[in-house]
């Protein structure tokens, strides 16, 4: 009896770190809203107007959403065959998984500079193509939106691989045998059974990569064009160079709303495409 009452009391202290983190998080979100909506004379939408009234900022939003969409789709498309292969080769799965995750073992900055070495005007790819006589002048592969897309896709693809793989691994392999015994070949089985059942994993990957690219900062700074800003780099600039917390907060809230909109669209697409596999 005594043990039963005293144990929860002593265990209650374990909640403290979590509460601390929660308090800090809620505090900073509150601060964000305060900065964004509190002007010199109380409540104000002036910072939002500063952003929404500028045509060049519209372009930043458009670029952010476009790049995030392209990156998430590219990552999903590239990740699917890799996930499928990992699923199909159980003996090699752990080794291949390590290879897939290698980009995360390298620091963000080092990895991004790696792309400079490969894609830069005097980089490996351009030099090789020039040497082979395919091109005369270097292709603009970097310091533009293409560079950002390549860099982000590379970093985020492991998320798409893992989320797809985790769903593939849940598929009962008897389902494939059942399909085969009903006359279906390998591709037909994939199209009619494996693909529909793995779509939830693909959509999870799309959500993760889309949201992460929406808020990307370092990759667009290092691999993007100087004038081709994304929302994340805009916020970074307002905080670090302009010390304009209010404008940065307004940017952040705009970005949050856009991300939520994108996520809602993804959910709607998933609901329309993925049949309810109520097991």
């Amino acid at each position: 009896m005594r043990g039963a009452t005293s144990a929860p009391q002593s265990l209650g202290w374990l909640l403290l770190p979590a509460l601390l983190v929660l308090a800090l998080f809620l505090g900073s979100v509150a601060l964000l809203f305060f900065h964004a909506f509190w002007g010199k004379d109380g409540f104000s939408l002036v910072y939002f107007r500063q952003i929404l009234d500028r045509a060049d900022y519209h372009e930043v939003f458009l670029r952010t959403v476009s790049i995030a969409s392209i990156v998430s789709i590219a990552a999903a498309v590239l990740a699917y065959p890799i996930a499928w292969l990992l699923w199909r080769l159980p003996r090699w799965r752990n080794l291949l998984l390590v290879i897939v995750l290698v980009p995360w073992l390298v620091s963000l900055v080092v990895r991004t500079y790696g792309w400079l070495v490969i894609l830069g005007p005097k980089g490996f790819l351009n030099e090789t193509l020039k040497w082979a006589g395919v091109i005369q002048s270097p292709l603009p592969l970097i310091f533009n939106d293409l560079g950002v897309v390549i860099g982000l896709t590379h970093v985020l693809m492991p998320f798409a691989v893992i989320s797809t793989l985790s769903v593939l691994l849940q598929i009962d392999n008897r389902l494939e045998e059942a399909s085969e015994s009903l006359g279906a070949g390998g591709f037909e089985t994939w199209r009619r059974v494996v693909l529909p059942l793995s779509l939830p994993g693909v959509f999870t990957g799309l959500s993760i990569t889309f949201l992460t690219s929406m808020g990307a900062i370092v990759t667009p700074i290092l691999l993007g064009g100087i004038r081709q800003k994304m929302a994340g780099t805009q916020i970074y600039q307002e905080v670090v160079y302009n010390f304009n917390m209010s404008k940065a907060s307004a940017w952040a809230i705009c970005l949050l709303l856009l991300s939520a909109l994108g996520l809602a669209l993804l959910r709607a697409a998933e609901a329309a495409l993925v049949p309810k596999a109520d097991r």
Partner: protein
């Protein structure tokens, strides 16, 4: 030879260094209900998967209606399969599950919907077309799996312990339906189970397997009355087994000594090659052990009832005898049955032709 005949010759299968099947020869008659019966690990499921084509044999050949199946993938074999966990497609509804094979064949929509209706009606699920798999009960899923595998009208249907997950009552009901469907379609059913009652109730032919080998092939009656080995005798139904020694053999009779008692049984009850003085096992079914009758059997002695179990119409008595414990099964509503009580001493007798003598080999 009717459609759906399976000829299995010299099949062996190894997984790594483990031998799972060893020298299996078997002919499964077209249109019959055949059960592969054995304890877990006896190789019955492996044999089924070899027939299905999900595995290739290490040795030997399998032919269906005379056509060798070596290297033929499952989808090109004229058979359907019901899996142990059913393997219904969770993302498709009942109609699409049953229609699956026909969609793969590219059959016309009208033909497909006609056949789906026909087979759903056959398994008693008419009107369930648009249900989702998750909304079905265990028994209904079972029926959908059956309809799906039958919809392509295969010559052979393979069933891998499909009823094992169901409760007893539902299992009995589905067994009856399964057998009636098999009779209607005259499809060859090859059914894997470890449940000997299920095998006895369903099959035309039972194939008893153990340790990767076929122990005996026969009708349920033959397997029960004339088991080919002590293993089969113990595995199918209850049986009393006594250790003895063969003391004499002639053309009509075998004399066996059990401890101090000598009994003589017909030569026809002997399995294996007897050696005079060699050890043997002598078996009799509990229902062959008669209690309270005039002593007219080959074995006749007094025994004390150590335990009594009344099981509805029958009563099972465990007897202490000088030869060791014996079990007797009697009808409860006979005068003899009514008189039985624990602790009582009764006269037991076993007719000489209800023994089976297994000579040690």
């Amino acid at each position: 030879m009717s459609r759906g005949t399976i000829s299995i010759a010299g099949i062996g299968k190894e997984f790594g260094t483990t031998t799972v099947l060893d020298g299996v020869d078997l002919t499964i008659a077209g249109g019959s209900f055949v059960t592969l019966l054995g304890p877990s690990g006896c190789g019955k499921t492996t044999l089924l998967r070899l027939i299905a084509g999900f595995l290739e044999p290490s040795r030997g050949t399998i032919a269906i209606d005379g056509a060798p199946m070596g290297g033929v993938p499952p989808r090109r074999r004229p058979l359907g399969m019901v899996f142990q966990n059913l393997a219904l497609f969770p993302h498709l509804d009942v109609f699409e599950n049953v229609a699956y094979g026909m969609r793969i064949r590219g059959m016309a929509a009208a033909v497909i919907s006609g056949r789906v209706s026909k087979f759903l009606a056959l398994v008693g699920l008419a009107g369930f077309e648009r249900r989702r798999i998750g909304q079905l009960s265990g028994g209904q899923k079972q029926r959908v799996a059956l309809a799906r595998s039958l919809a392509l009208e295969p010559a052979i249907l393979l069933l891998d312990e499909p009823l094992s997950a169901l409760d007893l009552q539902l299992r009995r009901q589905l067994q009856v339906e399964l057998k009636s469907i098999q009779r209607q379609l005259a499809t060859t059913f090859v059914f894997v189970t470890h449940d000997q009652e299920e095998a006895t109730m369903l099959s035309d032919t039972i194939v008893v397997m153990n340790g990767g080998r076929v122990q005996q092939v026969g009708t349920p009656g033959e397997i029960y009355r004339r088991p080919a080995s002590p293993f089969v005798a113990r595995f199918v139904g209850d049986i009393n087994m006594l250790d003895g020694r063969i003391s004499a053999v002639d053309s009509t009779a075998v004399a066996v000594s059990l401890g101090g008692t000598k009994i003589s049984v017909p030569r026809s009850t002997l399995v294996g090659t007897p050696g005079i003085g060699a050890a043997c096992q002598i078996a009799c079914r509990p229902e062959a052990v008669r209690l309270g009758h005039a002593a007219d059997g080959a074995l006749s002695l007094d025994a004390r009832i150590s335990a009594l179990h009344r099981l509805g119409p029958t009563v099972k008595a465990v007897l202490d005898t000088p030869l060791g414990p014996l079990t007797a099964l009697s009808m409860a509503d006979t005068p003899q049955g009514a008189e039985l009580a624990e602790g009582k001493t009764v006269r037991l007798s076993v007719p000489s032709d209800s023994f089976t003598v297994f000579a040690s080999t």
